[in-house]
């Protein structure tokens, strides 16, 4: 408790120090053309009660949640299958390694031509980018299962499904959870990026486009800061959840 308290305090000092330094540099005129830190923070605070921005945030949140949910729903089962079948995994691995480094952003112009529905376009781009950490972590999590435990259960006459549910899945779960947490962050990045690049009727990225069109750098940065804060909160929440669920793993 005290250790984590000190850590939080140190982190807060680091952030505050950076903000104060940026504010002073801007006020002294070393960096011009950017709005003051205090201006941006004030705008960000205003945005948290601004109906238009909240509507935009709700839309982004919806595509993020849908994209992440589908990523989990697709990534984990495929990862389990590939993890359980090393020969199949060896066959599809080159394909995975080919697709994985392709930047989602580069696929957006193509996706615009394919998807007529805004939400489908956004979800597709999010899934493409965020499925890799889930998939890869699930495969590795399954490979890491203690063979003795697995064989023991097998020698007692348990079928493959029972071995999966009783040994493999619990053992791989922490890996999978880490993959999901990484995917959650990637999904936020892509949720806003796809809006910035492909536009749309609403969304935080669309709000930033509108602010940009009017030359409102303060609003652009304020919306960006809030997106970052949301990402921070999601990560903190998922880390806390992992700690709680996999207490036995962190106790070591």
């Amino acid at each position: 408790m005290t250790i984590s308290g000190t850590r939080v305090l140190r982190g807060a000092i680091g952030v505050a120090g950076l903000l104060v330094a940026a504010e002073l540099a801007l006020r002294a005129g070393h960096v011009t053309l950017l709005p003051l830190v205090s201006t941006v923070l004030a705008r960000a605070a205003e945005l948290t009660v601004d109906g238009e921005f909240l509507g935009a945030a709700a839309s982004t949140l919806a595509s993020w949640a849908l994209g992440l949910a589908l990523t989990v729903a697709v990534g984990i089962p495929i990862g389990l299958l590939l993890g359980a079948m090393p020969r199949v995994e060896a066959a599809v691995r080159p394909l995975i390694e080919f697709l994985r480094p392709i930047p989602s952003v580069a696929l957006i112009p193509l996706a615009i031509l394919v998807f007529a529905e805004q939400l489908h376009l956004r979800a597709a781009i999010i899934i493409y980018a965020s499925c890799w950490p889930v998939l890869i972590n699930t495969i590795y999590g399954l490979k890491d299962v203690d063979p003795v435990a697995r064989e023991t259960l097998r020698s007692f006459g348990f079928g493959p499904l029972a071995v999966l549910v009783r040994v493999s899945l619990p053992s791989a779960a922490p890996f999978i959870a880490t993959g999901v947490r990484m995917a959650a962050s990637v999904a936020i990045v892509l949720a806003v990026t796809v809006e910035l690049v492909a536009g749309g009727t609403d969304g935080v990225g669309v709000y930033i486009l509108k602010a940009g069109g009017g030359g409102r750098t303060d609003l652009m940065i304020a919306a960006t800061v809030l997106t970052g804060l949301f990402g921070l909160l999601v990560n903190l929440a998922l880390v806390a959840a992992e700690r709680k669920v996999f207490r036995w793993r962190h106790a070591r």
């Binding site: 615009i112 031509l113 998807f115 959870a177 602010a211």
Partner: protein, 322 residues
Amino acid sequence: MGHTFLVFVASVITLTACSGSDTSSPTNSNGPEKTTLKVGVLPIPDSAPIQIAIDKGFFKQEGLSVQLSIEEGSAKALPKVVSGSLDVSLANYVSTFSLQQSGLGKFKIIADSFQAAPDTFVIMVGKDSPIKTPAGLAGKKIAVNTLNNVGTLAVTQTLKVSGVTVNPSQFAPMPLPDMAAALKNGTVDAAWMSEPFISINQKQGAQKLVDTMAGPTADFPVAGWGVSEDFAAKNPKTVAAFQRALAKAQQLASTDRKVVEAALPKYSKIDAATAAVITLGKYPTTLNEARLQRVADLMTELGYLKGHFDVKPLIATSAAAG
């Protein structure tokens, strides 16, 4: 973990349910075939008439309901017209003609929207720039919002008049809001800007070097409203209704600056003080084939289009307005 998963599942179900309620429109024999339109706009003054038509109820009078979708640029919005995710979009002519010739889509321009006026598209330089004349831009880096588009076309033609041949590698693409910093840092030597960025940068000390919409590019047509050829063929009454509504808005925009100033902050985040001082282009009330052919001819001359490009097949004559 289990609980989180349940939340995910719940959100998927909710979202799928929401997206199911689509915008199908009841057809009545005399009214428009499609009554709910998704229209792509850019958050720049070019799009103002559509906001005016919404605010003044002109679309409603024609039985149309218009939902705006904010786009990053015409080059990304026009493919959405092809895919059907947009019914209509603000379409800059250079993008439209290029995409049409490349075969990416078949488009129809159903109305004009924006035409350059003096000082609406200029090359700006920094406060203490040593560049004093257009000829001084030879070999210099020039920021533009998009490559191979209106900006590069206008800059190339303007400098050609000054005896300078621009090499395409001189152009640095970047978003308009970034140009002020790029000028200041010296990343670029000059920047091609439109409003409100001309006014904003002037306030910070940047200077106008040359108007790129003068001489051979004076009154240059910039953007209109585009649909796919397919959409125009299937929805002639919708197109006519859209044209009638928009014509009223173009009329207002071309005669009353205040109406444009009031519309701008609704689809961009421009502040009222800036909106009041920016230089506005012209909002033409008719779609003129000869004017648009000028754009295509200049594109051919500068190598943006291969050979002669006839704009006539792209123009959807406004049946009711004429």
